[in-house]
């Protein structure tokens, strides 16, 4: 039954991805100013949205770990697995944002990179979470999870700054399409492609996030069994 549900979810996700791609490439019209290059937006912005949400999942997991670590170790381990899964999958989506952005920028602006507030704060966000993953990979000892949780909370503080950066400081990066000033927004003919891709990337992200969470829980159980066996030996 569990396998069937996973199969159905994976099937729906693949169909959504295909439909999103079709909408972005064949249905949405070219942008009047940017032409075909604007279609990068349909992968770039949904990826940023998924990364932000997953970093908040990591934040919730980190807070949960710190809250439960003394009186409920099992719950703390579950929270820690969510924190790690959110951070790792968030980094993957943030990497997508940091590669598709410069590809678009090279064509639209003529440069790969500029130290614009939106770009810089996004790079800082990525670096913080890469540091988090390196800490988890290479640090050892009982304090590692606690340190990682603190860093996870610290890292999530950058998410609202990234989100607000092109509202607070108007420089090179385009202004917000949704929730921006007067005149912002998208043409109705493009909205379908955007929302289908947003749904498709969230479906894909959730699939990968759950996979990573299950993997971490299994790893925790294997590590606990090995520690138990070492004690009994």
């Amino acid at each position: 039954m569990k396998r069937l549900l996973i199969g159905i979810y994976a099937g729906i996700t693949v169909l959504l991805m295909i439909w999103g791609f079709y909408q972005a490439i064949y249905v949405a019209p070219n942008d009047a100013m940017q032409g075909e290059i604007f279609r990068i937006f349909y992968y770039h912005v949904p990826s940023a949205s998924v990364a932000f949400v997953f970093f908040f999942i990591s934040l919730a997991g980190s807070i949960g770990f710190l809250a439960y670590r003394r009186n409920s170790p099992d719950r703390a381990q579950v929270a820690d697995a969510w924190a790690l899964a959110g951070a790792e999958v968030g980094v993957v989506f943030c990497t997508v944002v940091l590669t598709t952005g410069p590809i678009w920028g090279r064509r639209a602006w003529g440069i790969w990179w500029t130290w614009d507030p939106r770009l810089t704060t996004t790079l800082v966000l990525w670096l913080i979470y890469v540091s988090y993953l390196l800490l988890r990979r290479f640090a050892a000892g009982p304090q590692m999870q606690t340190l990682a949780a603190v860093l996870g909370i610290f890292g999530a503080m950058d998410v609202p700054i990234v989100y607000m950066s092109n509202r607070w400081w108007r420089t090179q990066h385009p202004g917000p399409v949704f929730g921006g000033s007067q005149g912002s927004g998208m043409d109705k003919t493009m909205l379908g492609a955007f929302f289908w891709n947003l749904g498709a990337w969230f479906a894909w992200g959730i699939f990968v996030l759950i996979l990573r969470f299950v993997l971490e829980r299994q790893q925790q159980k294997i590590s606990a069994a090995e520690a138990q066996a070492a004690l009994e030996a």
Partner: protein
């Protein structure tokens, strides 16, 4: 098709390819970790 449109198309293809390479590479990495862990789990039970 003029030169600008060809360049736009090439950059678009590059961006979409990069996205799928990143996402599928990560999925493959998770699959690899899954296999390693399965072996590790079997070993731990022996």
């Amino acid at each position: 098709m003029d030169q600008a449109a060809i360049l736009d198309h090439e950059f678009l293809v590059a961006a979409y390819v990069v996205v799928w390479v990143i996402q599928l590479s990560y999925l493959a990495y998770l699959g690899y970790r899954w296999r390693v862990q399965k072996k590790q789990g079997t070993g731990a039970r022996d």
